[in-house]
Assembly symmetry: C2
């Protein structure tokens, strides 16, 4: 197969958004796929993972890796299939995950796009994008067990509870023996996490008084906050943290569209008074833990203790419309763009 | 000796201050010392420790132990001498530390005022109030070695650097092999910590642009922030924290006189992006570490690696005027009230 016969659609970041991103910030280009050189692999994208961190990469805020610069292909994690390999560790047909970007095909050295073979486990492909993926279960696993370090009987609050990471972190909290209280943005989300995922309670922050509802749902206070949202919700949660509580700072989605930096939590002094540990983490730092996480999560899937949902947007062409969906409570579980079969 | 012949001056908290505390918030009472009962000790106060946390105890903010209530003797740590003991573990003449309060004499069960004998070490009495005291060196030791966990070659910033805890934390940072940069409120304070204590640099936040000065003093960024102040200075320091940096939240003195809760740091999202660990601690939780801390600090004192200064206010009657001095840059080192010889 000559790759020059393949055409590649690519979404290029055109400008940095102020506020919510939309289609106007991207430009669709079409170009022939370049011929792989020695050490390259050619990967066909199957699914793209749509994550809050994509919005961070579009901005020039201080962040944990270089942002995407205007003119570059929009960065995104995804899974795909190797179509051609000039690298000794990969063969045509291999299923892989990596920073495939918003495009039909990637041609790159594996290390440059964080390529890794999918684990050889008995699981559907979509599981490798959610419970078994860095943007889902692996983040939940590291953030909960390594960063928050739960003890049985503790109370754990999870924000963005119906989302990809939150839904899995909460289920793992139940496995760890915690009382788990979710915070979500819709009644459907609350029903999902309590009825399907086994959370003990869930608060709809759009319709309920969060402080009052947290008081009811957490009669013994809060020991762990698995924080995906930030802003006012975090502030309210801080107010109820117990002595020696831990805040795993996994995401701050409520702030990513801010045009101006906003003030931090008013309850910041409680970090001192309640001897809290507030720890930011980025899962990519914890590569050494991925194998254990995948093994454990896969075991829990088999045992029926971990379940998940996907919300699939069909077609690469719709990726720019998928991204803003993250910031609205109109989907449950993992948001994906299906690029090819 | 009958204790009924002893008269006890006591400062009673009259009202909770809004803003800076002053004499109007206290009432001086004089009453005979009550007769010790079985299990009690009678302690004569020699020195009182004047600490930022005293201001916290005067307020009804959420805090790490119950506040002082109006009508109660003002709480304070101090050292004294046992005048009479009806407790098997104490004898007249013993030197002790504990929550002696703003009064000439305490009559209490040892456990009720956290009484402990002074370590039997070759050191002047004042050392037991500063480098060897929970309000000084022991806090610095636990906050640095247990909470921040320094590595040689790292850069450490210490706010309130000329104060009791800051001056000792910075010297311990040097012992740990760190580059140590202080932040203080006067040129005299800056000279003290660089010339006498061996800090590598010090910034006068009242006369310098802190962001710019930090950039110059910390060319490799900041790995550890030993935070005693909070507010804008903390926000500025956060902006320069390196990946995996640690913020030891030891005090937030800039906020203790706030009439309204103020917003937290604008750079709060950097805790996530830079994977910081922000940890509040209160030294009283770490009792099991005190013996090691005292032994190590005493060794460093003997080796000339730890030095300190005291600022002594004479007379219990002047305690209400001593307290607000904490919030002004007009003293170096540990602030004490001398109550008796």
């Amino acid at each position: 197969m000559s790759t020059t016969t393949l055409s590649n659609r690519q979404y290029i970041l055109k400008s940095r958004p102020e506020g919510l991103p939309d289609r106007s910030h991207f430009e669709l280009r079409e170009a022939p796929v370049r011929e792989p050189g020695d050490g390259d692999v050619l990967v066909r994208t199957r699914y793209l993972s749509v994550d809050p961190t994509n919005r961070v990469w579009m901005s020039d805020m201080k962040q944990y890796m270089p942002p995407v610069f205007p003119g570059e292909v929009m960065r995104a994690l995804g899974v795909g299939v190797v179509e051609r390999s000039l690298h000794p560790d990969y063969r045509a047909g291999d299923l892989v995950s990596g920073l495939l970007g918003w495009q039909d095909y990637s041609v790159a050295r594996p290390g440059d796009i964080a390529l890794a073979p999918l684990p050889r486990l008995d699981a559907p492909l979509s599981a490798f994008l959610c419970p078994l993926h860095v943007s889902g279960g692996i983040t939940a696993y590291v953030g909960l067990f390594d960063i928050a370090q739960p003890r049985a009987g503790e109370t754990m609050v999870v924000s963005a509870a119906a989302g990809s990471v939150g839904s899995l972190a909460g289920q793992m909290g139940k496995i760890a023996g915690c009382r788990v209280v979710g915070i979500a943005g819709s009644d459907a989300g609350c029903r999902y996490v309590t009825e399907e995922l086994g959370f003990d309670a869930c608060i709809n922050y759009r319709t309920e008084d969060v402080a009052e509802a947290l008081g009811r749902a957490c009669p013994d206070g809060i020991d762990i906050d698995f924080e995906n949202v930030g802003g006012d919700i975090l502030d309210t949660v801080l107010d109820k943290m117990n002595l020696n509580g831990r805040v795993t700072l996994c995401g701050l989605i409520s702030t990513y569209n801010d045009k101006q930096p906003r003030p931090g939590p008013t309850r910041f002094p409680l970090i001192l008074m309640q001897r809290l540990r507030v720890q930011g983490f980025v899962v990519l730092d914890h590569h050494a833990r991925f194998a254990e996480a995948v093994e454990k999560i896969h075991g829990w899937m088999k045992a029926g203790k971990i379940t998940w949902r996907e919300h699939v947007v069909e077609g690469l062409e719709n990726a720019p419309d998928a991204l803003p969906m993250l910031f609205k409570p109109n989907k449950l579980g993992k948001l994906l763009v299906k690029v090819s079969e």
